[in-house]
Symmetry: D2
Subunit: 207 residues, 4 copies
């Protein structure tokens, strides 16, 4: 079965305005995944949707999460894209993680969460500083709720401290960021393929 | 080839004194790995060794890291055990991560660090609070330097806030901690086996 | 001039349902501040309001932030209350911090942000683990945007790892948490009074 | 009484070799403090001393901490300087924090730790990314053990993501970093003076 990936863009801006730096990073990672025969589906711009606060999988009337949740779990690979604000991930990125808290209670009879066997990678952009802190918080939370993290799974760009250059405005993407993307794409595709073919066995309840 | 694992215990106390809570956690995780036919070798008590500050793989005369580095890289799975102090990992845990910084420059001609294809898991114990913060910092740093993180790869115990109960003194290990260990063992062994049989391909230099 | 304080409760639940553990913690801290002649005004339940995503002080039509921002900046002390989810602060807490990013550009001719001379403290509750991580992220972000942090400014409660006891259901608040609140109240009131009487001088532009 | 400050440099390198970027940052902050009549004493290069692992104030024979602890607590202001490695503070910085854990038990009869009324600021330098994460971990740990954090108390420099420029080699220090230092110096001196003149009252035991 061919591998599939989906991206979420947790920028604070809705679609339709200026270009998003986070989208440029997601595009870079998506292109690398495609080189490994991964079908990269949509990028979901979180700011366009009304994901309600909460820790269940459906917070009722008007909640955009059930549909987004389904689309994420339909794929083998999640590209988690977020900008940096105050050195931390956006509140929209935090909202998505929060809603995945429900996975902890949605285990099958082998104790496996719906995210088991799926692979997550991070794409992070900011004007200056914060990518490692976000990687830490992302990987801890994503791993808690069942995602597998391939080797070297975070690609990022930030500019010099306290400056305001945007990733979207760089005339070209710096080589180390491109190389990071190439390795991330190769690692994520390889690991997702292995886990698709041979899923985690889990641990039977009561064992 | 049978899988092998090694543990590091980053408690601040040398061997020979009182029992280490971190050792009890490591023991729990090691037992679970053994159920999946993983040969668990030593637990290296970091406080017994003089790992020099630095970011190279050999800081010269008297540096204990080259030998510890070799023993870690001889195995497929690393159990990273650390206590919690002030809500953060110990300075000895930090020292070990720091020395792994050198992996970034020790890539083969496919761009792969020596840790590529190896799996890391965390065992964290404290009197109260701090396990998630340490998981975050550990997984970010370990993943940066090439380790793969299986699903639900951190098992931990902390007591109620601002109290001083020790994990080593619990009459029995709480069920959720045992279940976490069982799942961690199953996931780590499964993923390490897949990566042993089918290593990451890497990305050829200059591609 | 008498000191004033305001609290924000970043629970994911709207008012009107079950009691909030975060409210109980805020109540404890508020009582201690009142012992030092601080007028504690409202607790703003963030989930009741529509604070828009963004990093300006007014995101337009329907944005609840301008009013909340004004009420926060009318006071000398901010009690920042948040629950723990996945070991991290709530997305609503993150949203509030994000909106304070605008303070960085709202300096007076002495370079002082609107938060200069104001004191922030944290009240954090969860079932298990995460308070130190949230304290770290909160104090970094709040301090970046100008808040002063008095000695020992975080009070928290979390239960034993991987359990589900709620702070609101404890028959009584544990002594160390009460003592933490007493010290926090004394320290915050003392420091806020000093800064009210003798504001930071700032640094003249172009000096 | 004139104010005094001391700096610690947590670079991994001993004195006597190449210049330290962290020293350059410390020098910048020290100069700003001197403009406010603060006597800035030594910079303690932690790598030159053998601070033992542990969480007491004296770990016995050969432990350099008791003397360093005394020198730090003799001053009103601590400049905490650390480099960035893997997006985190150095293991030597972590060691210093760990030893301050003992302050929690060294309270006077008003419940005040030896650090009460003292002010801490951070100076952080790295090639690329990590300053906010370190600020978070530093301020949480320092505040836990009693230090007060003045407004905007972290100054830092990191270069563009994944590059290797050193702060010590910049032909000149960028303006925003200089402005950050000027504000940090003014804020720290102001707050330390207030707290020197009017110490925290603390909370009597058993109250």
């Amino acid at each position: 079965m061919p591998l599939s990936a989906i991206a979420i863009n947790c920028t604070l801006k809705r679609s339709g305005g200026e270009q998003s730096s986070t989208d440029r990073m997601i595009g870079l990672l998506a292109d690398e995944l495609r080189k490994h025969e991964v079908e990269v589906r949509d990028t979901i711009r979180i700011a366009d949707h009304d994901i309600k606060p909460g820790v269940s999988s459906d917070e009722g009337e008007g909640d955009a999460w059930p549909d987004i949740r389904r689309r994420i779990l339909d794929c083998d690979i999640l590209i988690f894209g977020t900008p940096v604000w105050l050195g931390q991930m956006s509140s929209l990125a935090k909202r998505v993680l929060e809603r995945m808290d429900a996975f902890l209670d949605e285990t099958d009879d082998q104790g496996r969460m719906p995210s088991f066997g799926k692979v997550a990678v991070a794409g992070i952009v900011g004007n200056e500083d914060g990518a490692h802190a976000i990687t830490a918080d992302l990987f801890q939370a994503l791993n808690d709720v069942g995602w597998t993290i391939p080797s070297a799974a975070s690609d990022y760009w930030v500019g010099e401290a306290m400056q305001s250059k945007d990733f979207k405005d760089l005339p070209q993407i710096p080589d180390p960021v491109k190389q990071g993307a190439a390795m991330l794409g190769a690692n994520a595709a390889h690991l997702a393929k292995l886990l698709q073919q041979q899923p985690y066995p889990g641990v039977p309840e009561g064992s």
